[in-house]
């Protein structure tokens, strides 16, 4: 064994992706840029001096410095939502072994929506603390149903069956949402704002409500990444490598549900972030999830925050909800991916 010297080994085992360091540096620069533009731009633009005042000089009470202070929780909240949605997308794509999987494709978003609507319509629920539990239960409920339907028949829950089950369940659940909303104009009003997806309501309260779910979900993702790498080779090969695929699918899905359910509850269903962030990273870093998952978190945060800023600028003097912006960027990408990745071969 000694004939393999350390340097030679590093050469033949490029386990750290080629562009990892560059990607890491660029991501952090972008992240800082994101935070700055998110604090500066909006229906009222503030100067850089005021940003510094707002951030570091708590005694300055100028109008602009206060605007900056108000934008701080919004910025943090949008970064965290981006992390949650990016990681959740990466997990779902791995669990279903489907490059197009996203919380919306597996119906998890719709399930969360349905439960929130039921809460608003029948139980007069209106606070984020209550939304989050309803949305989580809804997301979990949908996941169980989708996995249940998807596992029927021979070979268990194959990727293609999961996606079909997700799409069908999503269609059924959204018809329930419509049925509940149509006769109730008040619920409709309240639901509409939530449904489009906005991080504008992000406050310190929503951040503290969100944090435990975010931390748990991200931890699950990081811990299951090596096993998910093995499962990428197929269930049989993974079993041969000692992965218990049933337990792994359950754990990773739980992480995905926590992340996407909590983000959906607080910001409304924001689509495509999981798809966008993960694909950008897969493209430059390759398929190793130990790198793709953390980097999807960062790229998700960047994409969501920039989308939010774009929404504020485009919609000026009001604002355009971030859910609309991400759908606008995400839809063309989805089509490109569908063509490129030969979905039919699934």
């Amino acid at each position: 064994m000694n004939r393999f010297s350390g340097t030679k080994l590093k050469q033949v085992n490029p386990h750290i992706p080629k562009y990892f360091v560059i990607v890491l540096i660029v991501s952090f620069i972008l992240l800082v840029v994101c935070v700055i533009v998110s604090l500066v731009f909006g229906s009222k633009m503030v100067g850089f001096d005021e940003v510094i005042d707002g951030l570091f000089h708590p005694n300055t009470t100028s109008y602009d410095a206060n605007i900056v202070r108000n934008r701080i929780p919004r910025t943090i909240f949008s970064l965290l939502c981006g992390v949650a949605l990016g990681v959740s997308g990466a997990l779902m794509q791995s669990v279903t072994r489907n490059p197009l999987a996203d919380p919306s494709i597996l119906g998890v978003n719709t399930g969360a929506s349905l439960f929130v609507v039921i809460g608003i319509a029948f139980f007069n629920i209106s606070s984020a603390n209550q939304y989050i539990w309803l949305a989580l239960v809804g997301a979990a409920f949908t996941t169980v149903i989708v996995f249940g339907i998807g596992s029927l028949g021979r070979n268990g829950a194959t990727p293609i069956k999961l996606v079909l089950a997700g799409t069908a369940t999503s269609a059924a659940l959204s018809s329930f949402v419509t049925a509940i909303l149509i006769p109730r104009s008040h619920t409709m009003e309240q639901f509409r704002f939530w449904q489009v997806g906005s991080v504008g309501s992000g406050s310190w309260d929503s951040i503290t409500t969100f944090a435990p779910f975010l931390v748990t979900g991200v931890l699950i993702a990081i811990l299951t990444a090596p096993a998910l790498n093995a499962m990428a080779l197929g269930d049989e090969a993974a079993t041969g490598l000692g992965v218990r695929t049933g337990i792994l699918r359950f754990a990773s899905s739980l992480g995905a549900v926590l992340l996407c359910g909590a983000a959906t509850a607080l910001a409304g269903p924001i689509g495509f972030i999981g798809l966008l962030s993960t694909h950008v990273m897969r493209l430059v870093l390759g398929p190793d999830l130990r790198f793709v998952i953390p980097m999807s978190a960062i790229s998700g945060a960047i994409i969501l925050t920039l989308s939010d800023v774009a929404g504020r600028l485009i919609g000026s003097p009001g604002e355009l909800e971030v859910g609309v912006v991400t759908a606008f960027i995400g839809a063309p990408l989805l089509i490109t991916l569908a063509i490129r990745s030969k979905v039919s071969s699934l």
Binding site: M1, F4, G6, K8, L9, K10, Q11, V12, N13, P14, H15, R97, P99, R154, L223, P226, A227, N229, A230, A232, L233, G234, E236, A237, T239, G240, L241, G242, V243, R244, R282, G286, P287, D288, S341
Partner: protein
């Protein structure tokens, strides 16, 4: 030589849903030897291999490794003794050769440990044995069928198990690559004493490379033993329903099946 293991299949009944495919099979895998399971299509040879590799839970009976049912052995621990190369594993998009081979190290790594020196050595050694060290940075999509199969076997080798199961490792390969793969597996067996069990379609190559043959028909084990004892025209007629002559392979001296068919007369 690898340590001694006792791998037994005890009264296995197995299948899918309500269809029984394997009907009460008993066998012991010879240690440090190459065993090949042969039989016609749908005779249950792949199902038997899958049951032995714990991909399929038997309806009754037990698969026993060193006196313990494999279902009771922690899955990662079992994966350090028993490796498996399935018939059609999935290639993740854009994966490199080194990354794929490295994934064989999974059972040797704990939840938080990174890559140890041992892991790098195992990967380098596996690639060296399979002669793919130069391909380390290539993408799998750029390789030929024979090279790909060598990469997959290297992945299973990096797992460093004493026992290795392979489900039709030569199917879909040209004859040159079939021989190349079987030669490499024989090297592995000679050099490290790895116990190899595989399903093969080609009876003549099986007879040449196997120390031990398991012949199956309709979910039952019909014969087992050395190729020279097992491969006879009577057995081939019984399990494949084929009239044939068995001659001596002029290269290896192992039995070789020459089929007869309807349009040719048996002159002997």
């Amino acid at each position: 030589m690898k340590p001694e293991h006792v791998f037994e299949v005890d009264q296995i009944v197995a299948g899918y849903d309500h269809k029984t495919i394997i009907k009460e099979v008993n066998l012991v895998i010879p240690n440090n030897k190459i065993s090949v399971i042969i039989g016609p299509n749908a005779c249950g040879k792949s199902t038997l291999l899958k049951t032995m590799a714990r991909l399929l839970k038997p309806a009754s009976g037990e698969v026993v490794l060193d006196g313990k049912s494999i279902e009771k052995i922690p899955s990662k621990k079992l994966a350090r003794t028993l490796g498996l190369l399935p018939q059609s594993p999935i290639v993740p998009e854009g994966i490199s050769v080194a990354d794929l081979v490295g994934r064989g190290r999974f059972p040797h790594q704990s939840l938080l440990s990174g890559w140890s020196k041992k892991d790098y050595e195992a990967v380098a050694e596996a690639m060296d044995i399979m002669n793919i060290t130069k391909l380390a940075n290539y993408h799998i999509d750029e390789l030929s069928g024979g090279q790909r199969q060598r990469v997959w076997i290297a992945m299973a080798l990096a797992q460093q198990t004493d026992i290795l199961f392979l489900d039709e490792p030569t199917t879909f390969l040209d004859i040159t690559y079939q021989v190349e793969i079987l030669d490499l597996l024989t090297d592995l067996n000679h050099k490290y004493g790895t116990t190899i069990v595989m399903v093969l379609h080609d009876i003549n190559l099986s007879a040449r490379y196997a120390h031990n043959i398991f012949a199956m028909h309709s979910g039952k084990l019909m014969a087992e033993g050395k190729p020279s004892e097992v491969i006879t025209s009577t057995l081939i007629k019984d399990i494949f329903g084929l009239n044939c002559q068995v001659i001596e392979d002029p290269v290896s001296g192992s039995p070789s099946v020459v089929p007869i068919g309807r349009h040719h007369i048996n002159y002997s």
